[in-house]
């Protein structure tokens, strides 16, 4: 149970975020910019709807045959000289990675931006084992240096402005002079990171795709820092959720079109890194692939929930979500934010950790409309709401919902209730509107007036016509 001092539910965290006008402006402007860019490049593709359908059906096919494809991927990776590890949950996955680091007596590892490693809290586990992880993605570096948490799955530091980043770099990187020009900030990060790329012997990455027929792993990123991690160190460990499989090399053409246009609004991604096992004398000489379940097989077993596993982490749903635009990512209290976070978090971390998230949506459907792999997020949200209600104890809401059903299932009772409401509302009515009240009415009337129940219902009027 969260203490009162430490709000954890979405409405509590959102209340704080919504009141922060600077944050609302930052997030609103940033998402608007990405949204406009995305819409323009998507409109250029004449067969975008067919591509979406191809992406969805490829994902569904892969998930339906996941057992077979996982074995195929393991065989391909092993044949190419890599080692495959299976992790049931986060604890197993982090143990596998720290054991590899210990075996090589590594004290530092460099990291490619990876939400999967955030999901399993890998950085904390490495630190507990005396190993320092260094994030190399610029935004992740900003988050790590600031002891902050990510607020967007693609743009983790979306909530930070340049002045804040300048101040952070000066303090944490020991710089005496630095402007807030993007090029200067990037240069400061580059000189700090370059030393790490050249000296740290082990890297940890996530994976956007794992190609089964070739055993190739793919990471898609914008800065090239990821590529440095993937090529320079001696040991490379990639942690990948088991849902990220793609059957064949050819299938990549679908996803390498859908992903960059949906996520950053680019026609093609700046860095698409693909690696297959090990090559003597070139690149990492030891490659480990950690295949992570962490409740994904439970999600797969759920008829409505399983489409969540189609997600390619493009973040288009965050950028169009009117709720996300007002609250930012921290209100979701998860490494997965926005509409996809609202359905992924309760399924991967359990409803106990996230019972308020399925309700953090007005069900406007913009996320479904934009999703490149057609995840019906509103449908899954409603499905998870049912689950959240089923596992919660007795409540006023349940009583009220039960009473409402008895009323709605009896036209006579509904009429009586209408008549009672006309009388009960009297103290709060002025000018035909209710401006105060109790319970949910009060939640409503804090900022909005509520029309008073009129003297005649429709059905009463209907009877007067006869």
């Amino acid at each position: 149970m969260a203490s009162a001092a430490e709000p954890r539910t979405f409405p509590q965290l959102a209340r704080r975020a919504v009141a922060d006008t600077q944050l609302r402006r930052n997030i609103g402007n940033a998402t608007q910019t990405i949204r406009t860019k995305r819409a323009a490049v998507v409109a250029e593709v004449p067969d975008w709807e067919e591509l979406r359908e191809a992406g969805r059906s490829l994902k569904e096919h892969t998930l339906r045959n996941l057992d077979r494809y996982l074995v195929q991927l393991e065989e391909s990776v092993t044949k190419a000289g890599g080692q495959v590890h299976w992790a049931r949950d986060g604890a197993e996955a982090t143990r596998i990675v720290t054991d590899i680091a210990k075996r090589h007596s590594v004290k530092e590892v460099i990291k490619v931006k990876s939400i999967t490693t955030e999901e399993i809290k890998l950085n904390e586990a490495l630190e507990d084992a005396g190993i320092r992880p260094f994030e190399t993605d610029l935004a992740e570096l900003i988050i790590q240096l600031g002891d902050d948490v990510s607020s967007h799955i693609l743009v983790p530091a979306i909530h930070r402005n340049r002045a804040e980043i300048r101040e952070l770099f000066m303090r944490k990187l020991g710089l005496t002079e630095l402007s807030d020009r993007p090029s200067d900030l990037t240069a400061a990060a580059r000189s700090y990171l370059r030393e790490k790329f050249l000296t740290v012997p082990m890297a940890v990455s996530g994976a956007n795709f794992g190609i089964c027929d070739t055993g190739t792993i793919c990471v898609v990123e914008s800065e090239g820092n990821g590529r440095m991690c993937l090529t320079l160190p001696k040991v490379l460990v990639s942690v990948m959720g088991i849902e990220k499989l793609v059957p064949t090399w050819e299938d990549m053409e679908v996803f390498l079109q859908l992903l960059p246009r949906s996520s950053t609004g680019e026609r093609m991604n700046p860095y698409n890194s693909l690696w297959t096992g090990v090559t003597p004398g070139d690149g990492p000489q030891e490659f480990h692939l950690v295949l992570l379940d962490n409740r994904r097989t439970d999600v797969l077993a759920d008829r409505t929930g399983r489409q969540t596993l189609n997600c390619i982490r493009c973040s288009a749903c965050l950028n169009v979500c009117p709720v996300y635009a007002r609250t930012g990512g921290h209100a979701y209290h998860s490494e997965y934010q926005g509409p996809i976070g609202a359905i992924l978090t309760p399924q991967l971390h359990g409803m106990d950790a996230a019972a308020s998230l399925p309700f953090a949506s007005s069900l406007c459907g913009a996320c479904y409309e934009v999703c490149p792999v057609k995840i019906n997020i509103p449908e899954v949200l409603v499905h998870l709401r049912t689950r959240a209600v089923a596992r919660s104890g007795p409540s006023l809401e349940k009583l009220a919902m039960g009473a409402a059903i008895r009323m709605f299932d009896n036209p006579g009772l509904l009429e009586t209730a209408q008549k009672i409401a006309r009388i009960a509302q009297r103290p709060f009515v002025s000018d035909g509107y209710i401006t105060g009240g109790l319970g949910p009415v009060r939640q409503w009337t804090r900022a909005r007036d509520l029309p008073a129940v009129p003297d005649q219902s429709f059905r009463e009027w209907w009877r007067t016509r006869r």
Binding site: S362, C364, M401, F408, D409, A421, W444, P451, S457, W461
Partner: protein, 251 residues
């Protein structure tokens, strides 16, 4: 045509004028309107809040009330979209195969008002008169779930005297979302304030839509601001004729 009206619990209780307008309009167009009196509610609030199973008796009630109807018309896009998109999903795990069959059979006969007029009857000029500056908010359910397309705009464009102004960022949700408006009050109100800014920016006198629920949210906010801008359901605009106005003022 014999048209059975599904008024919805919401319009019945809070916005009877929407139903009265729907009846007047359909009768003016030469249809016979029936109102099965044992109808109540489609169960949208329950299913959307996570109480889908509880809504099943209401589905059963609806089927009983409207079984014999030729067409069922409702001035509420969210209730129609709930019937069309959620009912069979809600019933998926129940063993009541007869009810599933009944629902599958009845759903194609259920129409949202503007879709009924434009897509089913092929009318866009309903002979209405409404001398007001009006902006149209495409509610999320009409826009995305029901895909009403330009049906409401085509109807509004033919209303005499009406000055139709485009709403900026029209596709953005107003923040109502059923129980979301109460459960996530702060976020809902933040969304509302942006929607109100858009509405006020048009200098329209009236904001219209196909959902009394969203209009209640927007209208409630506009009333709190004492803005003078009102929300009116599309059915009321379409039902209005010159006889309802004297020198531009409503009788």
């Amino acid at each position: 045509m014999r048209v059975a009206l599904f008024i919805t619990c919401y319009n019945d209780t809070l916005f009877p004028q929407t139903g009265i307008a729907t009846v007047r309009l359909l009768e003016r167009l030469g249809h016979t309107v029936e109102f099965p009196e044992d109808q109540t509610c489609c169960g949208q609030m329950h299913s959307n809040t996570g109480y889908g199973d509880e809504a099943i008796p209401l589905i059963r009630r609806f089927v009983k009330s409207f079984r014999d109807a030729e067409v069922i018309v409702s001035p509420s896009s969210s209730c129609v979209s709930n019937i069309r998109t959620a009912w069979l999903r809600t019933l998926a795990d129940t063993g009541d195969e007869a009810l599933k069959r009944d629902v599958a059979e009845i759903v194609p006969r259920v129409f949202e008002l503007s879709q009924f007029l434009v897509d089913k009857l092929g009318i866009d000029d309903v002979g209405a008169y409404y001398p007001r500056r009006v902006t149209y908010h495409p509610t999320c359910n009409s826009l995305r779930a029901l895909k009403v397309g330009d049906a409401p705009m085509r109807l509004l464009a033919k209303v005499r005297g009406l000055d139709l102004v485009e709403l900026p960022d029209a596709r953005e949700c107003c923040g109502f979302g059923g129980t979301f408006a109460v459960k996530n009050e702060d976020t809902s109100v933040a969304m509302l304030s942006d929607k109100m800014r858009s509405v006020l920016g048009t200098r329209a006198e009236i904001c219209t839509a196909l959902d009394s629920s969203c209009l209640m949210h927007i209208g409630g906010g506009l009333h709190r601001l004492r803005s003078g801008v009102r929300t009116v359901h599309l059915a009321e605009i379409l039902a209005s004729t010159e006889k309802d106005f004297i020198h531009g003022e409503r009788r």
